[in-house]
Subunit: 488 residues, 2 copies
């Protein structure tokens, strides 16, 4: 059963991942030392333990006999990699005693690597600065992982219509990717790093201290949403800081291929991208609607504030970041309902954002209208058009199936969470926000609350849901299919 997998190569790749993870842990030592915190020792121990595990894995896989990987190996590496990273990533929390409980530590860590941002911390500011830096870093590492996943792995696996994105990305062709994959990944990582540094600089100029600036930049670019402050971005009342964060959240929710074109000043290429146009329109439409409500119902003191509050929260939820400047559940049923539905949108494909993704919604939306037309002309072939080309019926089919499975997991997840002792509305909110990798939900896990009070079993289950959502469902689900384990 296991013989069909290239376990040696899988093991050595996981070993390299663990070594990288250990490296990032050691990076936190200077932070702790600068702030004279005792937590530096826990990073040393964690780094050593993770390195040791990595070395073991690498040693097991050291043979160079057969380096070829099959598709099935890919699913294995990605899912197992994310779980192992999260397992080791919780060492600093556990060893330092910042989060002494294993369930909570694992939840917080996978919430980091999956760039979700749901937290079990009740008093974030009470933690060491070194530990909070590690917490922000897990999201940034997760974001890096997602970029390489989208560039290198998803195109081969071809999950639920991601082909549509691939077709538009330069240097990524599903068939012959190997030669250019490293180059493309490097290029996009460079942009990821560059934007992170640029945001840090701008936040610092805006008056944030350097530590907060770097932390928030790390979690913005990953669309993660962990903050070093208990009341998230509401802590920073400067409009400049809030607009900077909005701008970078928006970029992080944009395909990194487009960000590359932006850097290259190829604006025409960006504007020609249909997903980008829909993305901007969605954000614009919802912001205008919500600011209208906030302003006319006097929830905000002036037009600029209602616009900024709306824009911030809309961009935060659509890009699945999850930062908060205002509690959107406190503005009446309509605003709450809109934000709940926005949780099912998700950012652009090829960004660090989670969720369903805008490209899929475009296909779903267009197809729904075309179904009416097809009803009237049953023999005509009427394909969905995207970026000026007809989308293969096969791909539209896969997008439809993806959305159905996404919603089925949401529905089943809600029932499971409620069975574990959570009230109905919080079960809806927790499942939607974890599956969409957003962070805050509705009910008792709303924007001003946290996940601490949930039952242990619910935390483990929601950890699994975050993983499912982050890895486009199929990468994880397929491991549970009997045919996966049959010899090909």
């Amino acid at each position: 059963m296991l013989a069909q997998f290239n376990l040696r190569v899988i093991s050595s790749i996981l070993g390299v991942l663990m070594a990288m993870n250990a490296g990032f842990m050691l990076l936190c030592i200077p932070v702790s030392i600068i702030y004279s915190e005792s937590s530096w020792i826990s990073f040393l121990y964690s780094g050593l333990a993770t390195s040791f595990l990595g070395a073991l894995l690498w040693y097991f896989g050291r043979s160079k006999k057969d380096n070829t990987l099959k598709k099935k190996d890919g699913y294995f590496i990605v899912s197992l990699g994310w779980v192992l990273m999260s397992f080791c990533g919780s060492f600093p929390y556990l060893i330092s005693g910042a989060i002494p409980n294993l369930t909570n530590a694992f939840f917080e860590t996978i919430s980091g690597y999956s760039t979700t941002g749901a937290t079990i911390l009740t008093d974030i500011e009470a933690l060491d600065k070194g530990i909070l830096f590690w917490r922000s870093l897990t999201q940034w590492i997760g974001g890096m992982g997602i970029i390489v996943l989208t560039v290198a792995i998803l195109p081969i696996l071809g999950i639920g219509g991601m082909q549509l994105f691939v077709a538009e990305a330069p240097g990524i062709t599903p068939d012959k990717m190997q030669p250019r994959i490293k180059e493309t990944a490097k290029r996009l990582w460079f942009i990821y790093l560059g934007l992170t540094l640029l945001e840090t600089l701008l936040l610092f100029i805006g008056g944030m201290d350097f530590y907060d600036a770097i932390n928030h930049s790390l979690t913005t670019m990953a669309t993660g949403g962990f903050s070093t402050k208990n009341d998230s971005i509401a802590h920073f009342q400067s409009p400049f800081i809030q607009y900077v964060i909005i701008f970078f959240m928006f970029l992080a929710g944009t395909s990194f291929t487009l960000n590359y074109f932006l850097v290259k000043r190829n604006f025409k290429k960006v504007w020609q991208n249909e997903e980008f146009r829909y993305y901007i329109s969605f954000v614009f439409l919802f912001t205008i609607t919500i600011s209208g409500v906030l302003f006319f119902r006097n929830y905000s003191s002036n037009i600029e504030e209602s616009f900024r509050d709306s824009l911030f929260q809309v961009v935060s939820v659509v890009t699945t970041t999850g930062y908060i400047t205002k509690d959107y559940t406190s503005f009446g049923a309509f605003i709450a309902a809109v934000f709940f539905m926005l949780m099912f949108i998700g950012g652009s494909a090829g960004s660090t954002a989670g969720g369903v993704k805008i490209v899929r919604h475009i296909v779903l939306l267009k197809n729904s209208f075309l179904e009416l037309k097809r009803q009237l002309h049953p023999s005509a072939i009427i394909p969905v058009r995207f970026n000026g080309h007809a989308v293969k019926r096969e791909i539209t089919f896969k997008v439809l199936a993806f959305m159905i499975i996404y919603l089925a997991i949401f529905a089943t997840g809600t029932v499971v969470v409620s069975a574990l002792g959570v009230d109905f509305i919080s079960s809806l909110g927790a499942t939607a926000t974890c599956l969409g990798n957003i962070g805050p939900g509705i009910g008792s896990v709303g924007p001003v609350d946290n996940f601490f009070h949930l039952p242990q079993a619910a935390k483990w289950f929601l950890s699994f849901i975050m993983l499912l959502g982050r890895l486009e469902l199929f990468t994880v689900l397929i491991l549970f299919a009997p045919s996966f384990w049959e010899k090909a």
Copy 2:
């Protein structure tokens, strides 16, 4: 624009429908007279007004030049017919003063004809017996309409996978239906009538008075759920009566073609039907789960009662009837979550039940698992199998698209209802229950509540949602498509 439709034939058919409707109204006169109620006069006026309208429509369409109807005419007749029936059907409420407000009267009437069962009445028992009989009758008429719709119209229109049901129904073939359509419809109506009379008899034997027995039989067989009692079937504590109602709700949620085979004692044919097997399994599975919870958490006093309460509520929601013996929202978050999700199941295709329908869920469920298999074998053609045959990819596609549109309407509807001033959870509940033609929802429109307190605009909007759900979405939506109005 209108010239492409055969307006004369459309008009004459609507005229005949109005005449039938008037006939049913006159049928209520003896009921009022028996109980010495003054409302008999309102039925006379309503009947006369409706006949007059019918005569006008018939007169306008009397020419016999061209009797052919095109597909587009079919959509027109069905949607307009249901709205016109509901418009005239509200006359008795308005004229008698039982429901003096037009919004409320229209809501109650379309809730009847769409076999939903959502009510704006706060004290049902205060109404005249004649009026309540008319209320039950609207559902029974709606059920008759649905049977003829499924037999005669939907197969031609071929909406969202209904072909799957048609393929299994004898005497219904999409191509050459005309010769046998009248015969099939008559046969199924006869079974509908027969089962209604049989249930009346059994309820009467069980101790219900004759008036209540006939009313509840009318609304059971239509899977409507209007009751003559304020606390629905909870009023009748006799287990015999409750089991009789469960049995007939279950039959009403079964395809009437299968009911025909049952009457013919062709049990093999019934059991061979895959939708029927899933239907029974769904009901069984949920009943066992829920009775376990009710029993072990001491919500019911003994095993039989927890079984009966669970079975009753599960069958009531799955068949979209909406009768109540226990408030399922009072048994904790898990039970509430399960019932909320059950609202999205729906009965069998070809029954009087509304909702998504079990046949579609079978296709969706199987296809979701097959997608994992297809992921591993991208070049293999792996079709969904139903009733032993491979389902055409085209039909699976239509089922997926139907479900997406259904859920998109649910999501948008929830936002609209909340924008009209209803709290979030009640907006979810009201939209789900009206779209699924069930009756009671969750929140402030839960099983022991009613729709009276909703804002006027929400009532009109939900009336539209009931119509959408009842007519398999497309029949109504297509009227809003620009291509519908273009000359073919």
